[in-house]
């Protein structure tokens, strides 16, 4: 983020303005990615008119950065009508797409509409690996062709490379591909549980040893020594810091109108089909609770050595059962980075010790055939 944009975001925080928002237009998708957290069936998406009305309300509330995502945004037949409306309202529009449906014609239209950037998911530089993750043969070729069309129009393209067990070794190849295509590159090793709470897809996420290797790769982290340095002790100021922008200057709207603090934070705060966007933003009790939380309020993290440097995601913590609790995925990242286990990981390790139902201590002396001291302790261990 540029200095000026950060400054504006800080000002938005002071003014209580929702500076950025992600709107998922649909959960339908033409790919079936193995790690996807969405239910792709249509359970009653907002209509074109509903979305246009919502966009007008969002502009009025002060939203500047609008990310349109999905599902796959081009699955909506009215996508360009929605985008035209968004641009007429002078949003800074960013798109997230697999770009499988983007050809020269669509790329030219996106340029004409002044889209700020297009993020395209690419999982590997090897077509077979990418296609195995999307479960769509030929999808790699389609997406890469689309990136060429978009770049030919002078549009900013960001290749998003989600890392998981199946493509862990391919990020160098994807980065090289991005350079060849004159696209920007971003990498993310986060796998998110399904929105219904099913955590089975977390089996796909990189383990700590893979993260450790990644976090020492200077192509990814810059100065590895600095990146992996032990965390400084939390300060008074850091104890008062906000966990992240979710609910403070950012929010997320689902295709069904549900309002959440973030795409990764499924705490329903209202529905834009029933209430005005600004009313939810200002008055939702759930958002007020999210906004009240500071590092000092976090049950485990406020006592943790990583408190001031951890990338803890409150949404992932919420999905683990407590928005004030730790996010284990981020604990693992902090551990992989520094070698220092978080308070949460230590507690989990302690809990995971083999449980002995009965503890028997040796009796020091025996008189006759009786125990001299009945000090053997017998206890149930949780």
């Amino acid at each position: 983020m540029s200095v000026l944009l950060q400054e504006m975001s800080d000002r938005a925080l002071r003014l209580g303005v929702p500076f950025s928002a992600q709107l998922d237009l649909t959960y339908r998708c033409n790919e079936q990615c193995v790690h996807c957290y969405l239910d792709h069936d249509d359970h009653g998406e907002m209509t074109t008119a509903e979305i246009k009305n919502l966009l007008s309300e969002m502009a009025e509330a002060g939203v500047f950065i609008l990310t349109l995502s999905g599902g796959e945004i081009f699955m909506r037949k009215d996508f360009f009508e929605i985008l035209e409306h968004a641009r007429a309202l002078t949003f800074c529009v960013k798109l997230k797409t697999n770009a499988v449906l983007v050809r020269e014609k669509q790329a030219a239209r996106l340029r004409d509409l002044g889209v700020e950037s297009i993020q395209v998911s690419i999982y590997s530089h090897r077509p077979d690996v990418h296609d195995a993750i999307t479960k769509v043969p030929g999808s790699f070729r389609r997406s890469v062709d689309a990136i060429r069309f978009l770049r030919a129009q002078g549009l900013k393209v960001v290749i998003a490379n989600v890392l998981m067990t199946g493509n862990m070794l391919d990020h160098h190849g994807v980065r090289a591909l991005a350079e060849e295509l004159d696209a920007q590159y971003t990498l993310d090793p986060t796998i998110t549980p399904m929105m219904d709470g099913d955590r089975s897809i977390l089996d796909l996420k990189a383990d700590v040893s893979e993260l450790r290797t990644l976090f020492r790769d200077e192509a990814y982290v810059g100065n590895a020594e600095e990146f992996c340095a032990p965390p400084p002790a939390p300060t008074e100021d850091s104890m008062e810091s906000l966990p992240c922008s979710a609910g403070h200057t950012a929010c997320y709207i689902s295709p069904y109108g549900e309002f959440y603090p973030c795409v990764q934070f499924p705490l329903s705060c209202g529905n834009v089909r029933q209430q005005r966007f600004i009313d939810i933003w200002r008055d939702s009790e759930q958002l007020k609770e999210v906004r009240s939380i500071r590092l000092r309020d976090l049950s485990s993290c406020s006592q943790c050595a990583h408190g001031s440097t951890c990338t803890r995601c409150p949404g992932l913590a919420f999905m683990e059962g407590n928005m004030r609790g730790p996010s284990t995925a981020d604990c693992e990242k902090s551990f992989a980075r520094t070698g220092i286990p978080s308070k949460n990981l230590l507690a989990k390790k302690e809990k995971a010790q083999p449980a002995r139902l009965v503890q028997i201590q040796l009796v020091p002396a025996i008189t006759g055939n009786r125990l001299s001291a009945m000090d053997s302790s017998t206890s149930a261990v949780a």
Binding site: S2, L4, L5, M8, R11, A12, L15, V17, F19, S56, A59, E60, A61, G62, V63, F64, R87, A88, L89, T90, F91, C92, V93, G114, E116, S117, K156, I278
Partner: protein, 106 residues
């Protein structure tokens, strides 16, 4: 300057009023600008149809204690500067296809 100038917001920008300032992002290289309250007034009035001179008279001189000639000179300078960055269009003719209506803040 004796010519009549028309100004219009470029359709290829993103903009939003934040507090008293206008935040404008150019599609050219994603460059970000903030406009002060006076520049914001000019920006919001830049509909492609109203002459700059009239905008200055109606929107600037009526709100600020400033001489019309000074205000017009400053406005022309500002407009040319914004045009260089691709966020404002300037023409000696009215500009067709005026830009999208700026959203009022609540």
């Amino acid at each position: 300057m004796n010519r009549t100038l028309y100004v219009a917001r470029s359709p290829r920008i993103a903009a939003r009023k934040l507090g008293e300032e206008m935040l404008v992002m150019s599609a050219q290289g994603s460059t970000l600008f903030t406009l002060n309250p006076t520049a914001t007034i000019l920006w919001q009035a830049a509909d492609g149809a109203t002459p700059l001179e009239e905008i200055v008279q109606r929107r600037i001189c009526s709100e600020f204690e400033v001489k019309r000639e000074d205000a017009l000179r400053d406005a022309e300078s500002l407009a040319e500067d914004l045009a260089k960055h691709g966020i404002l269009l300037i023409s000696e003719e009215p500009i067709a296809n005026p830009p999208a209506k700026e959203q009022p803040r609540p």
